[in-house]
């Protein structure tokens, strides 16, 4: 694994909370699959609108991770497909990364996708839901530091990109901002002190 990838892994683990701006709409991206990670059978012909940073192959990996991580069936939570998770990830997290960090992250995504080959004989994007979840859990408890860091970091990115969108809060019972709702008056500046 390259130093840049290691640095990128560090970087994504730092992403405690970031701005989650809605991705700019109306920007169709015609991404080529020429440099894809593996040309998966279920490859997308192109990435959706608003995806500017991830390549089609990287999009596949992160989208698959989203499907595996954000399982809402039977929970009452908003399906990930109804939330602009990938657009939020792309525009609010990846687009603001330093170029060398982003390059390393891209290497990390490829490394993660190749991870299951030894055990399952196929890349992450081609694993079943059960296999993919088991793979993530195995890496999260691995002896290898990069594997733990990637499993924790990539899932964190996907989770942040989902939960940062306010529509996901309603099923949790969380109401979000309150100052205007509660009609709170601003106290403004404090008066000059005596000392």
């Amino acid at each position: 694994m390259s130093d840049q990838t290691k640095e990128a892994i560090d970087q994504i683990n730092r992403l405690s909370r970031r701005s989650f701006l809605k991705a700019a709409s109306g920007l169709a991206v015609a991404a080529s699959l020429g440099t894809g990670l593996l040309g998966a059978a279920n490859a997308f012909a192109a990435v959706p609108e608003g995806i500017k940073v991830m390549s089609a192959s990287e999009y596949q990996v992160m989208h698959r991770l989203m499907q595996v991580t954000l399982v809402t069936q039977g929970t009452g939570l908003v399906p990930a497909s109804e939330i602009p998770v990938m657009q939020t990830l792309d525009a609010a997290l990846l687009a603001t990364m330093e170029p060398h960090i982003l390059e390393g992250l891209k290497g990390g995504i490829a490394y993660f996708n190749d991870g299951p080959r030894a055990e399952y004989g196929q890349p992450f994007v081609e694993l079943s839901d059960t296999q993919a979840a088991a793979f993530c859990d195995t890496w999260a408890d691995a002896d290898e530091v990069p594997q733990r860091a990637l499993a924790m970091g990539l899932k964190k990115l996907v989770g942040l990109a989902y939960w940062a969108n306010p529509p996901t809060w309603t099923p949790l019972g969380y109401g979000g901002p309150v100052t205007e709702k509660w009609k709170l008056e601003s106290l403004g500046n404090a008066p000059l002190p005596k000392s």
């Binding site: 970031r18 701006l21 939570l77 860091a149 942040l160 404090a190």
Partner: protein, 520 residues
Amino acid sequence: MQDTIKAKNVPARGLAVTQASDVTRDTLELNADAVIIGSGAGGAIAAYELAKAGKNVVVLEAGPYVPSEKFTEMMAVSMDTLYADHGGQANSAGDIAILQGACVGGSTVVNAALCFRTPDYYLERWGKEFGLTNLTPKVMRPYFEKVEANLGIAPNKAYETSAGAQLLKGGMQKLNLPEGNAHRNIRNCAMTGFCFAGCKSDRKQSMLVTYLPWAVAYGASIYADTRATQILAADGKASGVLAEIVDPQSKTVKCQLRVNAPIVVGAAGPVQMPLLLQKSNLNGNGQVGKNFACHPTLSVTGMFEENVDNFYGATHSLYMDKYTMPEDGGYLLLDAIQDPVEASFQAEPGTGKPYMSYMSKYRNSVRLITLIHDQNVGEVNWNNGAKEITYFVDDKDFQIMKAGLKTNARVLFAAGAKQLYIPTSQKLTIDSVDQIDAVIDSLDNEPARYRYTSFHPQGTCRMGADPDTTVVSPTGETHEVKNLYIVDASLLPTSIGYNPSETVYALAHYISDQINRAHG
């Protein structure tokens, strides 16, 4: 007692700040009596005290000016606009998020407003070990009293609590542990729980609504979007600062600024301050950037059977410090409410359904934080043009953390939690009290294994009498350069095991007095 000048009126709201958008020239030169780098706890207080004494003061803040009416009360957005590296600042291993404010007002805008006086133990220890015999409890008491009066620091009122804190208090009572009632710099807390996102209704008495407008009333000028690039010194004396005014949107430099001033006050914080000194070639004894500490914290999440709804209320209201002093254990417990974004990465319930099932029970969750008094084992340096915070939790400190986690777990169970999530990379829960020791004892000190957060970086420009082993003298002036003072948390010779904001406030007042005495 220095002379003071007459102040202008403090406006009811807002702050006069020059921002990048106001600048039309590509070069600018200012002359001042004092230039202050940073507008957080230390910088704002120094600006006020020096301006009040009649000095022409210029404050340079690298971050943006975000007036409180623009605060969003959305943590994810707030991290981007108000925090260092958009909330992404971390140690070199990437497993400790090191959170600092990066805006006008600094960390005081986004902290939890929790205030503790520096324990006498540390003031006395600093005297013995670092020659800071001037910082006795008797000397410091008036400074604590002053800032407490100015910022309204007082114990929480009975209603200033949260649903989670009430449960945890019950747990502490069952275990005969003392419940600490938080002291905070708050006026009429509205209990929104958005301290970490900035107080939209100005209840938190951050520098944004106190010392900065007060400093401006005495004539200080504040420049936002303005990153200091070099401290100027000639013949061993400070002479000013070079800076860049940067457009926050395009990240392009709009203006090269030079401030000529015979007094330079560093208040850029424990990460940026040593980097600026190193960049300015002001590290003669090699101590700049060393001795970094950060009070690492881990949050244990307890799951209750009932809805707790621990997301509005006082951000912090309860602490437990029976074991905080080093000889007693070295850890502090703090309650904290949290929004869904924060909750989403505090635990690892397992991938997929287990994770979403866990998040579905957000209303049932309560977290309790363990914070440790850590050793100063880190460093802040440049590495290939980028900052690097090299810090790994020391093995001895990790044992302290484990002891703290055990008490943390016991309190949560006593409070009524049915299951606890330990903040590891892998799924790890504690399902009953009798599992606590076995689970916590099994933890090893490994990188990328735990979900640490630090709110208190400190110690990179250590204060002390010895010019060979410390950076700043007992009066706050650097050993290397005359008239260059430092007033931020980088001064602290050791970590103090408690939130250090009041310590910084008091030291900034003390050092400002030294500056005014030396430059009357």
